[in-house]
Amino acid sequence: MDVLNLAFVAAVLTSAAPVLYAALGGALCGRAGVFNIALEGQLLWGAFTAVAVSWWSGNPWLGVLAAVAATAVFSLVLAVGAVAFRADPIIVAVGMNLLALGLTGFVMREALGATGTFAPAGLPGLPDLDVLDGVPVLGPVLGRATVLVPLALVLAVVLSLWLARTSIGLRLRGVGEHPEAATSLGVPVTRYQMATVVVAGALCGLGGAQLSLGTVTAFTENMTAGRGWVAVAAVMLAVSRPLWVLGACLLFGAAEAWGFRLQGIGLPQQLTDAAPYLVTLVVLVLSRIRVRRRLRAADPVAAESAAHPETALHPEEPR
């Protein structure tokens, strides 16, 4: 593989990593039966906390830890609102996304004294994987990334195995698929779901930290710029399967990276902007249309409700 292609892979991985973290969180929630479209807000929250704590403490790793913790706490809003209180997860998520946007902007201004962008000289960012320099393939692909980038890939695999192979993974799948059944076997569904939402928050925290201390070292207002929504699309595309989520995020990352390169050869920016979304939509349609046809043949009436987000989050056709 030549250098340029490796650089392309590196670009894809870097732009996919934050989205991948958020999407893995969303996928876990999906498997547990919680519809999570607060990923955008959670990611932003993580990105902000990471930068703020890294700045105050002088240690980027503390920033990462704080992002994980703070986003986990933030996601309690969803856990309590949508899981414990059984409020509409969409309403809660809309509120959370708005809250994250407003509060990060507000606090940045009041506590950090910055508007728009916070990137003071000396803001400590995460180190690159310089140790890989000189290693063939890995060096050019990951050498300029932080350790959080390969970690995201590893996590996708680990989560996939964890869901498939462990007791807790099995229980979680059951909780999402048929909560009453899980309850009747003594699995505390609410607790499982809340824990999952919080873990997903922690993942978003990692994603946010990677965005603001890894991909770049800065926080800007609304810096997630739709990445959380892309993650939501990835979760649907992958029907909550972690390995598929990985694929979906890489697809999106590749579409974006190609977009930049196409812009380089003269395509209008606005059109290359649209490409990743259209690609995602087309793949989504192609992937769901088969499931849909099968459902319709089995049960034309039940198929009517199959386009609902909740059902679209499960790898299994509804019964």
């Binding site: 462990t166 229980r171 059951g174 048929h178 099968r294 790898p315």
Partner: protein
């Protein structure tokens, strides 16, 4: 088959395997269970019967730790146990099989059985051990289940075995079965009862909730009858009669509604010719079905569930498009017409799935009663809808059919199963459509309400309506139908006159080609993919 060897009650002095004492449970203002005592002797099969809403499920849920009682105690082997959750109940050796199976369709049989009690090493599931455990348990009670099959590919009867295996895997010594037979075919019911008797012989105690008196007589040792949350009778099966049980359940004797037969038959209303539909995953095939239903006639479709009845009915009402063949109403070809047009031309339909299809649980009784009539006067008039007329009509229907509800503005979800079913019937009977298609009209409905529903259907016949009745219950078909067609693997394999349709003949026709309980590959769409 019935295994009616009476297992004597436990030796004097030995405490019951499970006992409920003075259990009271309220839901808000509703007193669901009121000071009920119930003793389940070891190794017996104990029937718990009663009307809809009598408190059976609530009582069993208390025993299984799903509900905490407001008052009363639960004892296991004579010692009081505190059941804060099903987990406690499982630990105490209790198991429960719910009417609506609580299985994970996407998981394998083995995964379902060991769920929450998994053989695991360092948190990693031991699949081999799980499968061996399933094989061992099914051998013990003589069941045949493939541990690696995905549950959603299995017929209902097999799914229920999985439920029983789940309880056995947890070493349940007391097994609660809440309406286990409501969705089973006669063959499946028979094999379930064989298993139940065998378990009882092995020392397991079984509590069986059912609406079917015949089942009570066939398989149980003791009977407890509930009414309005209190016990109205404790009987020993061997010494009681169906009449006595029914009397205790509904406070009066039952006069079963029976088709008077012989009345004049009018012109054909529904004609189905050479209807064919291919099999698909999750849908059965229909092979060249032709039938005719005339005015003033009830035609029954018998058969084991999943033999094409649902597909046939959906093709008649317009929910499913046939591959070939025709459906005619009063001689008019319905090809290409959707549900709405067919309803307008005079087809009413009571579906089997009253929660998923027959009602919208979150909408009011009034809204539920209006569907299909909302564009015709008095409710709909020239593109407008009169909320007042909608409510008035609902109130009238509720009154006429005696639906028990707090009003027409409350959501259907607050109604009992029997009353929800009456709402569906009220709506479908309201316009006196020439053709009424009914599936499983009394499923999960208590005997009293079931009898009323039967009368309503016979009223349709006597006013000259045509009724196409799909039922899995032979008694129901015998009581109502003028003619019975038997469906097997999508084809009509027998047509019987009321007089010929005895239980034996029907039962034999329904399972002719295959063993009951695994009704061909068609039910599961060809098994595993």
């Amino acid at each position: 088959m019935t295994g009616s060897t009476a297992v004597g009650s436990a030796a004097g002095g030995a405490p019951p395997a499970a006992e409920l004492r003075g259990i009271t449970k309220r839901f808000g203002p509703v007193l669901a269970v009121d000071g009920v005592d119930l003793a389940l002797e070891r190794g017996t099969v104990h029937a718990v019967v009663g009307e809809n809403g009598a408190g059976k499920s609530t009582l069993m849920s208390v025993l299984y730790g799903l509900h905490r009682p407001d008052a009363g105690q639960v004892l296991r082997d004579g010692r009081e146990v505190r059941l804060g959750s099903p987990l406690d109940a499982i630990a105490a050796g209790l198991g429960m099989v719910h009417q609506h199976f609580r299985l994970f369709g996407s998981l394998t049989v083995a995964e379902n059985v060991v769920y929450r009690a998994e053989p695991a090493r360092f948190g990693v599931l031991d699949r081999r051990a799980a499968q061996e455990r399933v094989a061992e348990l099914s051998a013990r009670i003589g069941l045949d289940v493939d541990p690696t099959a995905r549950v959603d590919t299995l017929p209902l009867g097999v799914r229920q075995r999985v439920e029983i295996l789940k309880a056995l895997h947890r070493r349940a010594e007391v097994l609660i079965l809440d309406e286990p037979t409501a969705v089973l075919t006669p063959g499946e019911v028979d094999s379930l009862f064989v298993v139940v008797r065998r378990m009882a012989e092995q020392g397991t105690t079984v509590a069986l909730v059912t609406h079917k008196v015949r089942e009570v007589l066939e398989v149980t040792d003791r009977v407890t009858v509930l009414r309005d949350g209190v016990v109205t009778a404790r009987l020993t099966t061997a010494q009681t009669t169906a009449g006595e049980i029914v009397e205790a359940m509904i406070g009066r004797g039952l006069v079963p509604a029976v088709n008077p037969r012989g009345a004049v038959r009018g012109d054909p209303v529904l004609e189905v010719d050479g209807l064919r539909m291919p099999a698909a995953p999750g849908a059965s095939r229909v092979q060249d079905v032709s039938l005719r239903v005339s005015a003033g006639e009830v035609v029954g479709i018998a058969g084991v569930s999943g033999n094409g009845q649902r597909e046939l009915v959906e093709a008649v009402v317009g929910l499913r498009r046939p591959e070939s063949g025709g459906v005619r109403l009063h001689g008019r070809d319905l090809a290409g017409l959707g549900v709405r047009e067919r309803r307008r031309l005079g087809i009413a339909y009571v579906p089997e799935d009253r929660q998923g299809m027959g009602t919208a649980a979150s909408l009011s009784v009034a809204d539920n009663l209006a569907l299909g009539h909302h564009r015709t006067p008095p409710i709909g008039r020239r593109g407008r809808l009169s909320p007042r007329a909608l409510r008035a009509q609902a109130a009238e229907l509720v009154r006429r059919l005696g639906v028990k509800t707090a009003g027409v503005a409350v959501p259907v979800s607050s109604l009992s199963g029997g009353n929800a079913q009456k709402v569906v019937l009220a709506r479908e009977l309201h316009h006196e459509a020439p053709l009424l298609v009914v599936e499983q009209p009394t499923q999960g409905v208590d005997v009293g309400a079931g009898e009323e529903i039967h009368r309503l259907l016979l009223d349709v016949r006597s006013r000259g309506g045509a009724v196409l009745l799909v039922s899995y219950e032979i008694t129901e078909l015998r009581a109502l139908a003028d003619r019975v067609l038997v469906m097997l693997d999508g084809a009509v394999t027998a047509e019987l006159d009321a007089a010929e349709a005895t239980e034996e003949v029907l039962g034999a026709a329904m399972v002719q080609a295959g063993r009951a309980g695994s009704p061909a590959g068609s039910a599961s769409g060809g098994g595993e993919r």
